[in-house]
């Protein structure tokens, strides 16, 4: 059952990443990978929310939304490739900015999700 829920979450999360990435790029033409940044920060917020509420949230929901959806919505391989690609193409400050913004943005979003969850489910 857990496997099925993870599969279901991932089957939505991976195409959602692709579609959000496209939508962000279509509205925001830049070398900076705003699309990947957006899904990674969004996914970190959702997972932070979910993990904080884990006491009241069922393991099934964690498998579906956490391991499946958030796991497939966000990506480290793409983030790593983009960082290297920016650096190797001479955009070194953008590569550093991508790292700092993604890590700080992700952590900030995770703590924000955590705060929202503890406020909603004290």
């Amino acid at each position: 059952m857990t496997l099925l829920l993870i599969a279901l979450g991932a089957a939505v999360g991976a195409p959602a990443r692709y579609l959000v990435d496209r939508a962000v790029q279509a509205r925001h033409d830049s070398v900076f990978p705003w699309g990947t940044f957006t899904v990674n920060v969004l996914g970190s917020f959702l997972l932070g929310l979910l993990v904080a509420g884990a006491g009241s949230v069922s393991p099934a929901l964690t498998a579906l939304l956490g391991t499946g959806l958030c796991g497939a919505l966000t990506t480290y391989s793409t983030f790593s490739y983009e960082t290297l690609r920016l650096y190797a193409s001479g955009n070194r400050s953008l590569a550093v900015l991508n790292v700092l913004a993604s890590l700080a943005g992700g952590l900030g979003a995770a703590f924000a999700g955590y705060a929202v969850a503890t406020a909603l489910w004290p």
Partner: protein, 181 residues
Amino acid sequence: MTHGQRAATPEHASTAGGDPGGNHPGGPWPATDPDVDLHVPQQRQELSRHPAVLLGSIAAGGVLGALGRYGLSVAMPHPATGFPVATFLVNVSGAFLIGVLMVVVTEMAPAHPLLRPFLGVGVLGGYTTFSTSIVDTQQLVIAGAARTALLYLAGTLVCAVLATLAGTVLARALRSVRGRA
């Protein structure tokens, strides 16, 4: 940034990467994002051409990747204040594989149009996870293991980027060996 500035970047990339780059059938690779980059004409059009096949391939790949990640996390659980080994290995190995894959997709003979969506966006995107890496770090901080959190955050970043570089270099080396044979 303008399109003109962007067009210049792949040449810098090829100098830095030691690769001529221009041998790709579509000319120098103009993309930063390996998932989808709207600066690549084929990728701009791929969604409207075959939406169901494309999104279906991404979903199928994502399922395989996520199940692989889950399998590793079950095989290698970590205590609340311990180093999250499974997610670290998942992200570093996935970063290595995207390096290999993107050399195949962008620098070798024209790849099948679903190869990048299935393997790159789907399998590797579903396998690796940014959110778990971040929330693992957060949980370590909350559990009072700030030093492990920092080591994990920085370690994953450095090892993943180096792994992507290693994957790229290795794939290019294999390609040139095969090219000479």
